[in-house]
């Protein structure tokens, strides 16, 4: 339910995986080694990085979804890997700041 509110508010576009019903928390950051220790199970992870390692980190962390900011997308091979590993990927035209701000407003 929460995810749907966020999706509508931010006009998220689904690139891979399935829309998760809910999410636990939110982490924003592009440093993958840092994200690996900070993204918790069920979190939304907002980043502008778009290589295969993002899918690996999201999969290891069991993130609810990855949200790519600033209209960033992924190539087909990376999205196929996301589908295969059950990692949900969205893209959004907003900046990382705008995404965080809008998620906060939806949650409050």
């Amino acid at each position: 339910m929460k995810t749907e509110l966020v999706m509508n508010k931010l006009s998220l576009k689904l690139l891979a995986g399935e829309v998760p019903e809910d999410f636990e928390g939110v982490y924003a950051g592009d440093f993958l080694s840092r994200a690996m220790s900070r993204v918790s199970e069920g979190d939304l992870w907002i980043t502008i990085m778009n290589n295969i390692n993002v899918i690996a980190v999201a999969s290891l962390a069991d993130a609810a979804a990855v949200i790519l900011a600033e209209g960033v997308t992924m190539d087909k091979a990376t999205l196929d890997a996301a589908d295969a590993k059950g990692v949900t990927v969205f893209t959004c035209d907003s900046t990382v700041y705008e995404i965080c701000r809008d998620i906060a407003s939806v949650l409050s």
Partner: protein, 184 residues
């Protein structure tokens, strides 16, 4: 991992886990480039494994020991316009001369490159963790070279002295710090 030294530690630990008895860690700075290599005489890898090293799913799912080390190193290198090369000889195919060489290049002037970090601390950590391994460390810069050979230290001290003793680790730390200071 926001310092390069952490990548050095991470990649070198692969050689430690591969059962190497000799590991050479080399950094060479030349013009805008940084060339990094780790050469070991560990068990080596088969062609199939080498081919898949840059795929994080192969590495994290099937051979956990390798982890995200190579994918992250590759990413950092390619972000700055560098490349990563890995050659390996598996012990089953090369019983005499097995081992792995990982070389990576980086444009250290690139805006996405990260600070070098604490190389002295990294070398001391490696020796402390595996004093039995003969580490060779070389950092070549335009003004001079910092180098350390655990084999030479052991030849001087005698094999019964562990390099992991507090006094020796302190000595190594001071020696490396002074070497770096002297070519600043």
């Amino acid at each position: 991992m926001n310092e390069f030294s952490l990548y050095v530690l991470d990649i070198t630990m692969n050689s430690v886990r591969a059962g190497a008895t000799e590991i050479e860690v080399k950094l060479e700075e030349k013009d805008d480039m940084l060339y990094f290599s780790v050469t070991d005489n560990g068990c080596g890898m088969k062609a199939e494994q080498v081919k898949n090293l840059k795929d994080p799913f192969f590495t994290t799912r099937k051979t956990r020991a390798v982890g995200l080390g190579i994918p992250f190193l590759t990413m950092l290198s390619e972000q700055t316009g560098g490349t990563v090369e890995i050659t390996s000889r598996h012990e089953e195919e090369y019983p005499e001369e097995h081992g792995t060489v990982i070389s990576a290049s980086f444009n250290k002037e690139h805006i996405d490159f990260i600070p070098l970090g604490d190389m002295t601390g990294t070398v001391v950590t490696l020796i402390q963790g595996s004093p039995e391994i003969d580490f060779t460390y070389k950092h070549i810069m335009s003004k001079g070279t910092v180098s350390l050979s655990c084999r030479e230290l052991k030849d001087m001290l005698g094999d019964e002295v562990s390099l992991a003793s507090f006094e020796i680790l302190e000595w190594i730390k001071e020696y490396l710090e002074e070497s770096y200071e002297s070519i600043k």
